[in-house]
Amino acid sequence: MAYVATRGGERAIEQSERLYRAQMGQIDAARVAEIEKALPALVDRVMGEASLYAPDLAALALAQSGGDLYEALLLLRAWRTTQPRLQIAEVVAPDAGFTHRRISAAFKDIPGGQILGPTLDYAHRLLATEVLEDQPYAPPAVEPAAKPAPATHPSLAEWQRAQGLVTTPEAAPVPRDEIPDLTREPLLFPAKRAHTLQSLARADTGGTLALGYSAMRGYGNSHPTVNELRLSEVEVMVAHPDGRRFSAGRVKTSQAEVVTTKGKGELRLGFTATLGWNEVKCISAATLDLNAPGAEKNSPVEEEFFLYHTEPVESSGFCIHFKLPHYVTFQSSLDNLRAAKTAKAEQAQPTDKKEETA
């Protein structure tokens, strides 16, 4: 029965894809360029979750999928597998990026000061409906300061370490090609910290928010305060065949550190960084990292629980697979259900007969 349905669906499948793509119409380079220019936050979010820094390809994936984020991610993750890995860049130090934004909600007077950078945090949330009435909205120009900001800012955790507020042991550096890599090895538990942080860097923004928010609301064991939130551009330092080191260009990164005073006489920190600028994801994921030590099994802040459930391609893929024909398995379950009902009825019948004869 299931085979007949599959064969009969061929034309319907073809037309259904056409019907979906008809909504977007023709896709050209100009549309892709406009998406990249007009939607930097969305492009960044997609690049982080795809774990592939390529703004034009992310914009193309968005154009092609009509804005379905999970479809866009799948396109990018699949495309990525067609590309050879040429090098592993030098390790980026967390305080080394060309910093656009660096704030702390825990400490007012941080070394280097509070730099708001580009943000809508303090904006009035008013919809500019006049744009629809043919009155374009042009943002007022930034008034640059007379002197430039420093290009880099010190790490807050380093400052706290120097003050004895944080005493987490520092891991020993490993050779670059021995850094654990989830794209080449499976995620096993208890997870290596490098796997946890790579997994969170690629995690679904919505997924980390949902689970991180549950911890923030009290279903975790620690309440977060943002120790440091940073948006930067970091250099991709590669090697020339003759050994010279140079930057092949800059990529946008975001990182968040959250802190709790619920420790043994010192501050405890959680951390997440990702490609692209995505603050909600970094704060939520850092909250999960903060809450993970000692978390109860099967709770949302337990590492295995949140890492498995925030992988965007696997989770969305598993969800949408339920739309595919399950006729045979469902029919089989239905047969079992009917058989059980019949058996139950038959069991009940002799009793009735007994009652009748009694």
Binding site: P84, A89, E90, V91, I115, E170, E257, L275
Partner: protein, 145 residues
């Protein structure tokens, strides 16, 4: 920023070439190309560079994700090699960088290329300064906060 890597200072020339304005870079490479003779292309294509970062909490190094790059590797008739790698997928741009690197190492049009690198470095510095002046405008002055 980049500690523990042999101590050699990064090559500012290569960094400047990688970040140079794509149109101007290609234009200069085309201008110099006829003087380089029959060169051999050893590599030309796109690929990925994995980008690791160090965590601030435990100092653990982990992979942030991969960056799409274009790469080119050439050899001149003299045996001198040139290499280019730039973020993105513009292979022509990586090739132009590789040609200029090879020419510079070979002493072909060296003055012209040096002048180009100097001008581009100045433009990049000016662009960074302008960006940082705009960023500085968002500094919170806590006394008047």
């Amino acid at each position: 920023m980049f500690d523990r890597h042999g101590g050699e200072m990064p090559s500012d020339d290569l960094t400047t070439l990688a970040r140079a304005d794509a149109a101007r870079l290609k234009h200069l490479a085309e201008e110099i190309l006829p003087r380089l003779g029959d060169m051999q292309v050893l590599k030309s294509g796109t690929g990925l560079v994995m980008l690791p970062m160090r965590d601030t909490v435990q100092g653990v190094e982990f992979h942030l994700g991969e960056v799409l790059v274009a790469e080119a590797h050439v050899r001149l008739p003299s045996g001198t090699e040139g290499y280019g790698m730039v973020t993105g997928r513009d292979i022509e741009r990586a090739m132009a960088m590789a040609l200029l690197d090879a020419a510079l190492s070979d002493g072909t049009a060296a003055d012209r290329i040096r002048a180009f690198i100097e001008a581009e470095a100045q433009a990049q510095q000016a662009a960074d300064t302008e960006t940082l002046r705009r960023i500085e405008a968002t500094r919170v002055d806590m006394e008047t906060f």
